[in-house]
């Protein structure tokens, strides 16, 4: 493998790893929240550079993985209707619902389109006034402003045949749910750099104080992640607990204020169900009453669909760091990226798929 620059330079990585080794005196469990970081850690074998005392736990920060089965079934219900064009980011199309996935709906004649941006979905609505165009609005705080903008634009331009199936999730309440669990093992967090690019990191300061836990905003390159781990371990060994920013080349304390203002205009903070974890209070965004006309769950009266998760898939335990993917009895057997049983095997950001691809079996 070639390393091209300072963010992935092997010497730089090794020298940070040496620094980590030099300061590590105790065993520490550190969680990287973001699935993008899990992917980097697996791809570049970051764990191999770390001293054995450091255990990385892979968190629930993969939007594909935490979208509840129930919502996938709702998406499939909508996409199967003749008067609908169902639009989604590519990675949601292969997520198994309880009977099929969205690609299967497309194969049997459903009008399912992959879009790069939610604004493309608004354009499709504008061009197809006789169809109801629905966008599958999932994602963390990184993606929420883009999806909010699609509703804002549709509303401003008087586009009435556009709606979103909304399941936005938020990182700080998930951190709180993990930390307040009696089984919690986590002693430090790498917070997700792109989530914080939008939201800033003020919300993490009370969490860090309340649970006496270091939280380090961290980027996505191997060297970023090593640096984030170094900063976390340093705090742990010095018995400090603060919010620090490793990714300061992009992230500011306040985040992007214009994007946050748009979020406040379109969304309320609501309770959300997380796949495998259950309902976490105030852990997501839902459309404000004012924008109820853009809420696909209301338009298609789907609020009563309730679906239980597969008992074989232990995604909930994996996403909370209580089990590693290969401790799942289905891992690599009935559950593979070609035939995923649970969501963490679908997305390349999911812990199960990352382990599978990079040979941790």
């Amino acid at each position: 493998m070639k390393y091209v620059d300072e963010f992935r330079n092997l010497d730089a990585a090794k020298s940070i790893a040496d620094k980590i080794r030099a300061i590590t005196k105790h065993k520490w469990n550190i969680m990287e929240i973001c699935g993008g970081q899990t992917h980097t850690i697996m791809k570049y074998n970051v764990e191999e550079l770390l001293p054995p005392e450091i255990n990385l736990i892979h968190g629930p920060g993969c939007p594909v993985c935490v979208t509840p089965l129930e919502l996938i079934d709702k998406a499939i219900n909508i996409a199967s209707r003749a008067d609908v064009i169902f639009t989604s980011f590519g990675d949601m199309l292969r997520v198994p619902g309880s009977k099929m996935d969205l690609l299967a709906v497309k194969a049997i004649g459903g009008n399912v389109k992959m879009v790069y941006s939610p604004l493309d979905a608004v354009k499709i609505a504008e061009q197809n006034p006789d169809k109801k165009v629905v966008f599958f609005a999932v994602g963390f705080e990184t993606t929420a402003p883009a999806n909010a903008m699609s509703v804002f634009e549709a509303s401003k331009r008087g586009i009435k045949n556009y709606s979103i199936l909304c399941s936005h999730v938020l990182v700080p309440p998930a951190i709180e749910a993990l930390l307040s669990s009696k089984d919690n093992l986590i002693q430090g967090f790498l917070a997700a750099g792109h989530v914080c690019t939008v939201m800033g990191y003020e919300d993490y300061i009370p969490l860090s104080r309340r649970y006496k836990i270091p939280i380090v905003v961290t980027g996505f390159e191997p060297v970023d992640i090593l640096q984030g781990i170094f900063m976390t371990v340093k705090q742990l060994e010095e018995k400090r607990f603060e919010v620090e920013n490793q990714y300061s080349r992009v992230v500011t304390k306040q985040g992007n204020i214009a994007a946050k203002n748009l979020l406040n205009e379109i969304f309320d903070v609501v309770d959300r169900k997380w796949r495998g974890i259950g309902t976490i209070p105030k852990s997501g965004f839902g459309l404000k009453e004012k924008y109820a006309g853009y809420d696909a769950e209301k338009i298609f009266s789907l609020e009563n669909i309730i679906v239980e998760e597969s008992p074989l898939c232990i995604a909930g335990l994996v996403l909370q760091g209580l089990k590693k993917p290969m401790e799942c009895s289905q891992f690599g057997k009935t559950c593979t990226p070609e035939n995923p049983l649970g969501a963490p095997m679908v997305s390349s950001e999911g812990a199960c798929a990352a382990y599978f691809h990079y040979g941790k079996r």
Binding site: F7, L119, D120, V138, G139, H194, V198
Partner: protein, 86 residues
């Protein structure tokens, strides 16, 4: 899903005051990106973009380094930006 990619602003279109758009070059792939949340973004500057929206500006050197990495990781290609490629 939270992957965000740096690209260089080539031109800016302010015809919709609520939806300032820019043509952005991502290592050779051109794309229309909304830059509404970066009121002071200029042509020639680099932005970090996610699902069609610029989340923040980014320093030129950082941006070029990241692009090189993404190219090499195979994480940046035409497919990444396509709609309806299924």
């Amino acid at each position: 899903m939270c992957l965000a990619v740096p690209g260089k602003i080539v031109s800016i279109d302010e015809s919709n005051p609520d939806l300032k758009m820019a043509k952005v070059n991502f290592g050779g792939v051109m794309k229309e990106i909304c830059i509404q949340w970066l009121p002071d973004a200029n042509v020639g500057e680099y932005v970090l973009a996610h699902v069609g929206f610029a989340l923040n500006k980014i320093d030129e050197k950082d941006a070029e380094d990241t692009l090189k990495i993404l190219h090499e990781m195979g994480d940046l290609n035409e497919e990444e930006f396509k709609s309806e490629s299924i």
